[in-house]
């Protein structure tokens, strides 16, 4: 574990930042506790910073001449044999998160106020709120306000144009997994929402959806209602883990409303599940106890750092934990999957794709073999239970292929096929 090098009390009273004047050791150099590492200048004096322990100097966060906050690390010391990269993994900002949006920075316009951050969507607060409620991704709207600001009228026009948006693209409904929430799709949203409406509900007991008890049918019902409320003729469905089971059940109930079905490490395809991780996540009340279980979700545990665990824990208040524990007790009693959707999968005639990580420690990828012959099956090497987080670009590519293929078939083809099924 890397040890941060901090200034400690050297900043003195009233100081918020110091300037690094000199580094006495280079990256990779071996140091002992008490060795002089660097000099920093405060308002009153130049102060020496000593090594807090034995080790090897790893990443340097503030070079000579840089100003740095008194509570920020100057750099990191690595223990013997520790990989230099590890220090960077633990540094804030390197945890898996949404990639920067691909949208080009808006051209400078005297009508725009603020919005100077490249890639940030300039929209009024009201437009953001309306779009958020409707599940509309603002990145794909053109703003008609000053400087291209997206206003309420733009959101309402987009909704009125119909969920198909421009180019006849059908909306995409994405369903998150157990103990996650709709924000888990952020990494994919930029790729997939382009030109189409993205519907990202929180499942019951998760995220913004009010915590409530119940079983699989109670999780399914509000999503079914949301699907029925969509004005477009059909919707592409994507679900991960528990959301995959929900997506599969939805497709079984409303096959005519579903354009394609993509299941990412879905639940419901076998009895086996890693109950210990489910229990551990439900039980955790602190980032430290949540972290090891979150790390089991991914192939490379270094992807999940302390910051990620802290952020995840912040969204897991007592009510949410209680609701999810109750839900887990119904869905996964005694570490076993109680919901069995294998026959629904076998009967599914829709364009179908299953994506599974070969290192999935929660749901074994062999459960994917229950898929019918027409399904595409992608087993991703070096990926755990979170393909959409661990390999967002690949998953986005696979989804684009599924969506494009399903839409290329066109209404006419689908109708002809449906007629064949009915007569044949």
């Amino acid at each position: 574990m890397a040890t941060p090098i901090t200034i400690g009390a050297a900043g003195g009273e009233y100081m918020e930042a110091v300037v690094v004047t000199k580094w006495h050791v280079r990256r990779g150099a071996r140091v002992c506790a008490g060795d002089l590492l660097a000099e920093v200048e405060t308002a009153k004096a130049v102060t020496e910073v000593e090594s807090p322990c034995d080790g090897v100097l790893g990443e340097i966060c503030a070079g000579e001449g840089d100003e740095i906050a008194v509570d920020a690390p100057l750099g990191f010391l690595l223990a013997d044999g520790e990989d230099d990269v590890a220090a960077e993994v633990d540094a804030p900002g390197s945890t898996p998160g949404p990639p920067p949006a691909a949208r080009p920075a808006p051209a400078a316009d005297p009508g725009a106020r603020g919005g100077g951050q490249p890639g940030r969507v300039v929209a009024s607060p009201l437009a953001r709120r309306r779009a958020g409620k409707a599940g509309l991704d603002l990145r794909h709207l053109a703003g008609s306000g000053p400087g291209g600001r997206i206003k309420r009228r733009d959101v309402e026009a987009a909704l009125a144009r119909g969920p198909t948006g421009e180019g006849g693209a059908l909306p995409l409904m994405v369903l998150h997994g157990f103990a996650a929430d709709a924000t888990i799709w952020s990494a994919l949203a930029a790729e997939l929402g382009r030109g189409r409406r993205l519907i990202r509900p929180d499942l019951l007991g998760h995220g913004a959806a009010a915590p409530a008890g119940g079983g699989f049918e109670d999780v399914l019902a509000p999503v079914l209602k949301a699907l029925d409320a969509v004005e477009a003729p059909r919707v592409h469905l994507v679900g991960h883990s528990l959301g995959g089971a929900v997506a599969l059940a939805l497709a079984g109930r409303r096959p005519a409303r579903v354009a394609s079905l993509t299941l990412i490490a879905p639940a419901g395809l076998g009895a086996e599940i890693d109950g210990a991780t489910i229990d551990g996540i439900c039980r955790a009340t602190r980032p430290e106890s949540l972290l090891p279980w979150l790390r089991r979700l991914v192939s490379d545990p270094q992807r999940i750092g302390d910051d990620y665990a802290r952020a995840a824990m912040a969204g897991r208040g007592e009510a949410v934990r209680g609701a999810q524990a109750a839900l887990a007790d119904r869905l996964f009693p005694d570490g076993t999957q109680a919901v069995d959707l294998r026959s629904a999968l076998a009967d599914c005639a829709l364009p179908l794709r299953l994506i599974w990580g070969r290192d999935d420690a929660i749901l074994p990828w062999r459960q994917a073999l229950a898929a019918p012959g027409h399904a595409a099956l992608n087993l991703l090497p070096g990926v755990g239970h979170m393909p959409h987080v661990e390999a967002p670009e690949l998953v986005a590519r696979l989804l684009r292929e599924t969506l494009a293929a399903a839409e290329a078939m066109g209404e006419a083809t689908l109708e002809a096929e449906a007629a064949q099924w009915l007569t044949g």
Binding site: G111, R113, S124, P125, L126, A127, R128, R129, G145, P146, R149, K151, R152
Partner: protein, 324 residues
Amino acid sequence: MATIRYAEALNLALREEMARDDTVFVFGEDVATYGGVFKVTQGLRDAYGDRVRDTPISEQTLTAMAVTAAMTGTRPVLEIMYADFLPLSLDALVNQASIYHYIWNEQVTMPFVLRTQGGGGVGTGAQHAKSLDAMVAHIPGLKVVAPVTPADARALLKAAIRDPHPVIFLEHKLLYNLRGEVDEADEAPAEIGRARVARAGRDVTILATSRMVLEAQKAAEELAGEGVSAEVIDLRSLRPLDLDAITASVARTNHAVVVNEGWRFCGYTAELAATIMDHAFDDLDAPVERVAARDMPIPYAETLEREVIPDSADIAAAARRALA
């Protein structure tokens, strides 16, 4: 119902409150024998004798006298002839009137009213045309009201006189001759802190104070011709603010224009804009538009003064920007 002038409505309120409570007294420069330079105190000397007193020109002393009189059991109504001279009153307001109830654990009350008039529009120059609303509204412990109709002038002055806390009563030199209906039989005081919807509308909320309410109404009329439905809210009380009225209106219209005749920088409109963002951010479909005086002395030449002080055209333009 009677149609009377704004100045007459204030005079009526003073007469009613002096008749009702013999601890109420009026003092200031030229308020007694001359009847006030804007005729607000006309005839009071004849009716109430020594309870209406002329004083030398010394606003600092007068305000400190009002503080002391209020502390010792009377209800003084002090007239400061021009709001431009409020800086002379500031020490008594900031270091005495607004804090004594606090530092002496409410052993004293401070029931006094400081009436003054500000604003421009008639070429009275840089020393007699300012709106220093923000300067007094900034001070915790003071209430600040600015009625624009004769009926509100009467009811709010009565409320101010009866209030146990110091109230700054802001009038405007261009309002004194404004006529309006007043129900003489209704002697009830107003409730300080309640705004008034001067004109109902759907598309944009215009929050205005004092004479700017009239300019906002003109702007709303102009906007109506363009198919824009503007709601004009007369704040009446600058402190405390009627937050509910503001947020309810912005929640419906999603656009806000804030108007005050004082300077823009650190001005009253800045407070209004920040308040809307604090309490109604997610209801906004555009940035709050501010309409205020230019940050410079008020020119004496009326053509230049018109360029500095906001008017209905500025307000209508701001509403169009908000709705762009």
